[in-house]
Symmetry: C2
Subunit: 230 residues, 2 copies
């Protein structure tokens, strides 16, 4: 009879926790904060969440007023954060910075996922140092089986495209490392020059593009945060 989901407390921390601390919800909001608006965009950001559950969460968040939906001509809808949802940004960012400060890197690096990593890199890649013209950068994780081993990033006219298949263009730079190394670099755990020197990161191709890697390969938002655990 009692509401099974809730905490039964009037305290605003409790009310917020009922919304924010439901399974997957924080990550869905993170995706929306990063700019995803379509169902399958959101799915790419939370690949291990079932579509049924994602759909349910989106409806709940809309009902609560954290999300607003805008119908599109195709019949599908776009999901956007309401002002209340946008106001969660500092909390979600706070959680990320806390995680960066206090969660052991070994623990984070147990959750390797090339498609998530590449999706994140694409989202933050800075095309400006790679202009003008088209630039194709191939990422290779030699230890992975075929469908996950190679990724191509095509930068053209300031737009970044990510492919899981060879787009057929000339490769301007090949970036080769283990998935673990690239993830550690992305998280800010390992500096690029250090990994290059140790031979764990290899760059083959045009020197100017290789030399500019620290300019175009923007690291995670949380990478600059000083760590407080080993």
């Amino acid at each position: 009879m009692e509401d099974r989901g809730g905490y039964g407390q009037f305290c605003p921390v409790s009310m917020a926790a009922e919304i924010l601390c439901t399974r997957w919800t924080a990550l869905v909001i993170r995706e929306l904060l990063c700019g995803s608006t379509r169902f399958n965009q959101l799915r790419r950001g939370v690949p291990r969440m079932s579509p049924a559950l994602l759909s349910k969460r989106l409806k709940e968040l809309e009902k609560i007023g954290v999300i607003v939906t805008a119908p599109r001509e195709s019949g599908a809808v776009e999901y956007h954060l309401s002002p209340a949802g946008e106001d969660l940004r500092s909390i979600i960012l706070g959680m990320g910075f806390w995680g960066q400060r206090w969660v052991e890197s070994q623990l984070s690096l147990k959750n390797l996922d090339p498609s998530l990593l590449m999706w994140d890199i694409r989202r933050n890649l800075n095309p400006e140092p790679l202009l003008p013209g088209r630039c194709t950068i191939q990422f290779q994780y030699p230890e992975l089986p075929e469908p996950q081993r190679n990724w191509w990033m095509v930068i053209e006219k300031g737009k970044v495209d990510l492919c899981g298949f060879d787009p057929g263009y000339e490769i301007n730079l090949l970036v080769r490392s283990s998935l673990r190394t690239m993830t550690a670099i992305w998280m800010g755990f390992a500096p690029i020059p250090h990994e290059l020197a140790a031979g764990r990161l290899e760059l083959q191709g045009e020197r100017p593009i290789a030399n500019a890697i620290q300019k175009w390969l923007t690291l995670s938002t949380f990478a600059p945060e000083p760590r407080r655990v080993s």
Copy 2:
């Protein structure tokens, strides 16, 4: 095979959410931030959480490094936040302020609980305007059944005691209202003068103590936050 509880993402938001967004965890941390250190103190702050689950959560949080335990001579332990746990304060507070800004008051006021309210009032009551000597204030919620109707707050030597039974002292002030009204006042939804004028809040007893109610009855930490929903 896969870890059922986690999200499988290296993102620090995800790592933090795995910790913070487990059921009840945010509220347990809130209690620790408020200064509770003993098992049964914590239970009073999360009365609808089973002791088994509280015990489990405390162990998990200790293992993660958010809590440290200190044994006491009686054999039981004291729970304290580690630096990592203390560093969660801004996030928990952020959640509370967000809730205060955006959660409809009607929704919060569906979760009335006199013992939680009185426990909160006790924790924040300012004894300074009630000095010197002993002062006994009775709170009465006439609509409630007997074991929850009357509460006594005894202020003496700067210390505040809460009783669910008549301590036998002379009552210096009787505060009478519905539980809903008192909760709304505490949350900052309804100003005390307004509720007095409307007859929903009655004060009987010594005038100076009644007149000073806005000095000793500190409202919730979140009460001053401007609301952004009706």
